[in-house]
Amino acid sequence: MSAGDLRDLYQQVIMDHNKKPRNFREMSDANHLAHGNNPLCGDALVVYLKLNGDVIEDVSFQGSGCAISVASASLMTEALKGKTSAEADALYDLVHKQMTGEEVDTSALGKLEVLSGVKEFPARVKCATLSWHTIHAAMDSDHDISVTTE
């Protein structure tokens, strides 16, 4: 088996978002919120969401986790602002496909393409998808909800 290149996994953009996560704050006027946990590695995130009808008006997160889960959450919040929930789900679908090694249209991914390095590290896919599962749960529910990936 060829070694996955660590520089592919820990790309500059990922390191930057890990160090300085964007939209990393509590949202007092959130109308949706979900907790995401990965008990295996102790990652724990809260995703806050302000939905206006079907449109994600604002999204933020807090918590702690590995570089991959924090950067993925941070990138996600940037990518999803202003999108509809259907667009968000479609984007997640693309993100997940690229992480599991499927061919995808990278132009639709934008910055999220940096998460493609995860495909060489199958044990880390769960880290990169935690925030996405969490926001999905938040959108579907109007009360505080918990999701778990392992």
Binding site: L6, G42, C66
Partner: protein
């Protein structure tokens, strides 16, 4: 005289491989240890030559299988210096043994308002069975606290051991911190009040000589796979007079003397607690692992591992940005640490790319993580086949992490 590491490592074929283009450096022994040829051969020889069910056939193979299984029991008895083979119950591992004692020994005498006493540094295997028992009975789970060095704080033990306490269950060596607990003194203190004690020895038996008579523990549990034997086999030691009074835990074949629909007469010790066909090959592998450890010498094993731990600790302390979790005075095998600014999960992936296998996570000891306010640690854990060069690899891997995350 020190160990002949080159010869020892030749006995462990799995160690001789490349991982991600680097020689494997296996430092995850606290999770599970590797197996020498002597153990692998004992198991395959059994399946090639002697395999049959035990305790039930008059034919030759069944006799051989029974002899091998029972001599494995005697080997385990000697390994922990129990008085009698009747005191050694084969189980799947430490987890099953704790559950057996909780349900068969403690449950019948536990009432609402009674206490079960454990410690803050237990593995989930020595927490959850007791929690379940407390839920079943209305008893309370009490916890011996811990200091920031990762040692038990025994200043309040006298009060924690009281007339409500029906059992104390404590780890001999902590898998998350490496702390060796003063179990002998704690047992004496509990016995002074007539309280029985179970010791979880899963992390002790691979690293040190254990003498259950000297400890005077009532129960001692361990798993084979952490001491160079296969998975799925372990042992429960129990004092004979206690085991005699305990009801069987599971019912089935082998644990009975006679069965009719009106009445079943249970078998004598130790068979009363071994319902169904046991893991015969596992027991034989466990005996081979004990032989192997004795051939090397348990005192030498302990010395070499101590030297490794001291050297590795000093090397890590000399690095910037490293926090060692668990700095007890007496430790065995385990070096848990944090690299500043880097989540342990990232550490694990980067180490793996260097061929260095460590464990990252909560080590099935979440209360320990909560105590230190961390989600997880990176943990290197040594066995006697580890070398000082492998400590170099550990340090290099840490530097690589720091470089990448600089």
């Amino acid at each position: 005289m020190s160990l002949d590491l080159a010869a020892i490592r030749r006995d462990f074929p799995i160690l001789d491989q490349q991982v991600n283009g680097h020689p494997l450096v296996y430092l995850d022994n606290a999770a599970s240890s590797q197996k020498p040829n002597q153990v692998i051969d004992a198991i395959s020889d059994y399946y090639r030559q002697d395999n049959a069910n035990v305790h039930r056939g008059v034919h030759r193979l069944s006799q051989r299988a029974t002899d091998a299984y029972e001599s494995a029991r005697d080997k385990v008895r000697g390994f922990v210096n129990a008085k009698s083979d009747k005191e050694i119950i084969f189980v799947r591992g430490a987890t099953e043994a704790v559950n057996l004692v909780a349900q068969s020994f403690v449950r019948p005498m536990l009432a609402k308002g009674d206490d079960v006493l454990i410690s803050h540094m237990e593995h989930h295997a020595n927490i959850v069975p007791w929690q379940m028992l407390c839920e079943q009975t209305g008893a309370n789970l009490k916890v011996i606290p811990m200091t920031t060095k990762g040692e038990l704080d025994l200043s309040g033990l006298n009060e924690l051991l009281n007339e409500r306490t029906k059992i104390m269950a404590i780890g001999h060596v902590s898998n998350a911190l490496g702390t060796i607990n003063p179990v002998k003194d704690m047992i004496a203190q509990a016995h002074a009040k007539g309280i029985p004690v179970l010791v979880d020895g899963a992390q002790a038996v691979p690293h040190m000589a254990v003498d259950v008579q000297d400890l005077d523990c009532d129960f001692y549990v361990f798993s084979g796979h952490k001491m160079f034997a296969p998975t799925g086999i372990g042992a429960l030691y129990g004092k004979q007079d206690l085991l005699e009074t305990m009801p069987p835990w599971q019912g089935g074949g082998d644990m009975i003397l006679s069965v009719s629909f009106a009445h079943t007469q249970y078998n004598e010790l130790p068979y009363k607690f071994e319902a169904g066909t046991p893991h015969i090959a596992g027991a034989i592998g466990l005996a081979a692992a004990i032989d192997y450890m004795h051939t090397i010498g348990i005192a030498k094993i302990a010395q070499h591992e101590h030297d490794l731990l001291v050297a590795a600790t000093a090397r890590l302390e000399a690095l910037d940005g490293i926090r060692i979790i668990g700095t007890a005075e007496h430790k065995a095998s385990v070096l848990s640490f944090m690299i500043e600014g880097v989540h342990p999960h990232d550490v694990g992936t980067i180490f793996d790319q260097q061929g260095v296998a460590i464990r990252t996570g909560h080590h099935c000891a979440q209360p320990v993580m909560q105590f230190f306010g961390i989600p997880a640690t990176a943990r290197a854990s040594f066995a006697f086949y580890n070398t000082f060069e492998e400590i170099d690899a550990l340090v290099d891997a840490i530097k690589k992490v720091q470089e990448l995350f600089a």
